[in-house]
Amino acid sequence: MRRYNNRLGIRGWIYAGNYGLERYLYFLHRISGLGLILYLLLHIGVTSARIYGGAAWEQTMSLLSGPAFKLGEYVLMAGAIFHAANGLRLIITELGMCIGTPGRQEYPYVSSVRKQRPLMILIMIVIAVLLLLSGVDFFLV
């Protein structure tokens, strides 16, 4: 009998319904992580220009200047800030902290996601402040 495969696929990482913010952070964490690892490999290549002497270094650096690269650098910085701060939250919750303990459940149920939400909000505020600070440093001053 024929069947229709209802698997969401990669689209399911991004949107699958009206869930809390945590499920979207899952995707953001993923995408920022993938961006950072690709950049890291690039970064290892680019910075190795220094063993070929001052001229080679200056040439590489001049290649990587300009407003587009500045913006790219900021996006990477933002990705790193998000990945680090959200990763800290994940380390805390995945080691069973700030998510409550098992017990008798009474309706309306308060899930572990709801219990870690204050931590999540705190982390989001930290991320916002860091993004703002580094944004000011990057573009305004």
């Binding site: 069947r3 229709y4 698997r7 699958a16 009206n18 945590e22 499920r23 919750t93 017990g103 572990s112």
Partner: protein, 270 residues
């Protein structure tokens, strides 16, 4: 009147699912399942869906209602606060017909974690001499996870299940933790071997969607994180004490005597 947009799919006729619209006169107190029965009885008898107990115990009527996987019987129409209700089969499964999905992967993964009590002492299990004693605190360590209906909502919500067919999934992991936390059980090592794989425990990244949708407050996300914690820091597990059966102990004053068993055991029978 509420408008129901329901995803239809007949494997014998349709190549792709499509939406069909029905108008249902809703009143206060009707659940989505009541409305589906209304449609099936009065408007369109070809509509297929699974349902049984109508009271959130069997877990048959799991479907995707207005952007969240929910039990149709536990979802009040008025609680959705809208007149357009979209009902679709659960994501991340194969659709057999209309709202009926194939839950076989769920049960197969559930079996993989050995969801039963693996006793320390098989002889004691075969020929019990005493009763297992468990304190209320020891019970509450796993009771929450024992309420799992196997409805499959959590797998429909999980972003990892969305891509990873082999991921063992929140339901099975929560059940692994439920039996691991039972003081009568000694099967931690076996279960850990079943979940400590590339597609096991470590593919959960605390998106928390499973905990949000669970209709019984089982909270698979909590179970999974606590299991990780035990895998990292180790755990101290008490063993259930064997207690004398009630005939050998003196009743406290004020406690009624249990009724005599209705079926008498013959001599020598276990």
């Amino acid at each position: 009147m509420a408008v129901f947009k329901i995803q239809r799919y007949d494997p014998e006729k349709d190549g792709r699912p499509y939406f069909q619209t029905y108008e249902v006169p809703v009143e206060q107190g009707m659940s989505i399942l009541d409305c589906l029965f209304y449609i099936k009885e009065r408007l369109d008898a070809t509509l297929s869906f699974r349902a049984s107990c109508r009271m959130g115990i069997c877990g048959s009527c799991a479907m995707y209602i207005n952007g969240l996987p929910r039990l149709a019987c536990e979802t009040q129409v008025t609680s959705l606060a809208t007149d357009t209700i979209e009902v679709r089969p659960l994501p991340n499964y194969e659709v057999i017909k209309d709202l009926v999905v194939d839950l076989a992967p769920l049960f197969e993964k559930h079996q993989r974690v050995r969801p039963w009590i693996i006793p320390y002492d098989p002889v004691e299990l075969d020929r019990p001499t005493k009763e297992y004693h468990q304190s209320p605190a020891e019970l509450e360590r796993y009771l929450q996870f024992a309420y799992c209906l196997k409805c499959g909502l959590c797998l429909a919500a999980c972003p990892t299940v969305a891509t990873d067919q082999e991921f063992i999934g929140p339901q099975a992991l929560a059940q692994a933790f439920r039996y691991n936390s039972d003081t009568r059980d000694g099967g931690d090592t076996e279960r850990m071997a079943a979940v400590d794989t590339l597609h096991g425990l470590w593919r959960c990244h605390m998106a928390g969607a499973c905990a949000e949708v669970c209709p019984k407050g089982v909270d698979p996300a909590l179970a999974i994180q606590l299991m990780k914690r035990e895998a990292v820091f180790g755990k101290k597990k008490g063993r259930a004490r064997l207690a004398d059966p009630p005939h050998a102990v003196k009743l406290l004053p004020g406690i009624l005597k249990a009724p005599e068993p209705t079926v008498k055991r013959s001599e020598g029978e276990i």
